[in-house]
Symmetry: C5
Subunit: 93 residues, 5 copies
Amino acid sequence: MLLGKVIGTIWATRKYEAINNYKLQLVQPINADEKELGSPIIAVDTIGAGPDEIIFYITSGEAPIPMDVDMAPVDASIVGIVDSINSVIHSGD
Amino acid sequence: MLLGKVIGTIWATRKYEAINNYKLQLVQPINADEKELGSPIIAVDTIGAGPDEIIFYITSGEAPIPMDVDMAPVDASIVGIVDSINSVIHSGD
Amino acid sequence: MLLGKVIGTIWATRKYEAINNYKLQLVQPINADEKELGSPIIAVDTIGAGPDEIIFYITSGEAPIPMDVDMAPVDASIVGIVDSINSVIHSGD
Amino acid sequence: MLLGKVIGTIWATRKYEAINNYKLQLVQPINADEKELGSPIIAVDTIGAGPDEIIFYITSGEAPIPMDVDMAPVDASIVGIVDSINSVIHSGD
Amino acid sequence: MLLGKVIGTIWATRKYEAINNYKLQLVQPINADEKELGSPIIAVDTIGAGPDEIIFYITSGEAPIPMDVDMAPVDASIVGIVDSINSVIHSGD
């Protein structure tokens, strides 16, 4: 899974039927320090992430699993909202 | 899913049978500001996107789902046409 | 799917049995202007592409579908030979 | 599979139910010389890797297999902890 | 599939059970001229590739197929050992 921040929402009236009832979030991939990595992707959101929240998302063939349909043409889904990241303290090694 | 713009159509008379009845669009990946990202890919279009339209597409094993066949050797499909992108306003944070 | 050009053939006597009867082509990924993109990959060819032909290929879990076997350890297959690319004329926008 | 080092743990109370009982490790991809490669990813850990341990992980659709559930929205899992890497000695070739 | 060279072996006593009986090779991706591409990956070897041999490997969800188990948390497998590459002669075009 990858870390990201919700930076917007996609509006699309003409789209494949199976994704009609799902929110499509614009997600900026970030690293653990919230630095932006590459370009935003579009992910289905079944968790209810709000703007600017740090989330993690999947991008494989498992992406449709959080949805209530058998199959869906989806390759990225938000699966959790990050409370905190407990990093290994490298300075004390 | 990723954002892209339809920039052309691929013509191929010799191709795998299961994709014979599908339109193959040349899609330029873009970011939310319509800046080009990398090189164009080829995506099956079952939505009816026109030239220069902003679309979003999937690239995983779910790509054949919008098609009317059980299996198809396809790894990218257009699944929606973008009306607008509602971005989080960062300047007001 | 991605555009590529057939630039060679791989010979391998010791290989996994399910791919024994398939031609393994060395394919150089290219863009719509035939500019080379990255390094060549190896793709199964069930279409009969010849040297220097422009083809498109898939790289996902659907790659084994063009083959006559149930399962095959294959992650790239040539699925069509390009006749022409009909690009959107940007200069007239 | 790719080499990585466990560099932290992700805490997320709001997440997709199927991953509720799994530890989510922050993993820094590394090469065989422990040099960092790109940005950290998040992987499910069913092996019990500790902080700073060298592990290898998978990132494909097989990632949910180590889990005790039928399906899970997971695209990266730790599958082993590295004891040592026995490299080919190139200097003696 | 991608070209690679076997450059080492991974030893891991604590690992997911389904891969216990398989050799894990450290593989350096290369191009057709044996130039190194990126960082090494870890691939299951069911073919018996030796050190420094040129092989090709798959990285998709089909990677577990060469193994004798139904499912395995594996995303890269060696599927053939390269005898030779018959390149298109570009100088004579």
